[in-house]
Homo-oligomer: 212 residues x 2
């Protein structure tokens, strides 16, 4: 119930925290209702009601339903992105190893939410679009710390292509999984992802690193 809410433990002012909480609750209720009744038969008012706020307030937090769910995806990804700042901590290993370590470090809950969202997006083009865009936003947020660690600009195109390829790979694997192997163990999904991430050549990323 408060699974996503957990991720929003900031020690800011009470006001900030309350906002973050409402936001998280809205996103959470949105997932809950959509999984339950199907995306298109859930209205913004429904979500707002479930979260105990007005429709207007919903709009203060999210531009629309899809963005709300995308935000859930984003909170969910925070846990991974946070870890990515330890990217070069394993400087002896290759980038690919670091990525795999990151993926394996994510809690099971993370992958569950991923598959839930993937399930939802399957027959809702609008949602798929927004979740993809959310992915992009995640890439954007992940790039900054990594770029710093590697000592290159966040605008570095090579870096962006690399991170984008990884994110895309993960996304593709999850979709594939939901489509073909929905009932398998999460551990197998993880294997699927790490195996395929390994296919991506990150040697040029390692080169970026060695130049520092």
């Amino acid at each position: 119930m408060t699974a996503l809410t957990e991720y929003t433990r900031t020690s800011a002012g009470r006001r900030e925290r309350k906002k973050a909480t409402t936001r998280a609750i809205l996103a959470e209720k949105a997932i809950e209702l959509c999984l339950q009744r199907g995306y298109s038969s859930v209205t913004v008012s429904d979500i707002a009601d479930a979260a105990g706020v007005s429709r207007r307030t919903f709009s203060n937090y999210f531009a629309n339903k899809a963005e709300c769910l995308a935000s859930a995806a984003q909170s969910n990804s925070d846990v991974i992105i946070a870890e990515s700042s330890g990217f070069t901590a394993y400087s002896e290993a290759s980038s690919i190893t670091a990525v795999q370590r990151m993926l394996r470090g994510a809690p099971e809950r993370f992958w569950i939410v991923c598959t839930e969202l993937a399930e939802l997006m399957q027959d809702e083009p609008e949602l798929e679009a927004y979740l993809r865009a959310g992915d992009l936003a995640n890439v954007e947020r992940a790039i900054e710390p990594i770029a710093i660690e590697l000592g290159v600009s966040p605008e570095n195109l090579t870096l962006r292509v690399a991170i984008g390829a990884i994110a895309n790979c993960i996304h593709t694997c999850i979709l594939h999984w939901v489509k073909h192997n929905r009932d398998g163990e999460i551990a197998d999904l993880l294997t699927l992802i790490t195996d395929h991430v390994a296919l991506i050549d990150l040697s040029w990323l390692d080169q970026l690193r060695s130049r520092t």
Copy 2:
């Protein structure tokens, strides 16, 4: 003016053709108006009016404004995807070479439309979402012929990851270009893309091929 319309020269029944034309005109007018006034200040009625049909008819063709623009992107990509069926024609070369050849084979007009759309999507998250999703649809359409040529299933995950990485790379490069080098020559954009595509390791794709 009729640039996109050109792409829809099918020799089907007149009825089919007329539908395809209306569709193309709608998409075209949509781009035109959006480039001119900005995405958010163009209404569906505006587009419909410009195309000479009713608002209701617009909805018969597209679910919404964003999807309409995404369709323009799709028509635009048809020219590339059509070429991808000659993928293994150069069996002596590596996959990466084939991809580069494909990219260089696209007419300048293709890249112009790409950059126009990229420009539009820059500050419109909704549009960005839909165009990204359109990319996915393109990947979906491109995979089929390639899979056949390689003799693997279109569901083959390795293949999907590879094609996805390429599409993502192209997209990322175009966005980067629009953001940092808007006024440069299209030829330079092409160089940027082929250079970065080359960074993606497609050797495992070549292996898929050699197994046939």
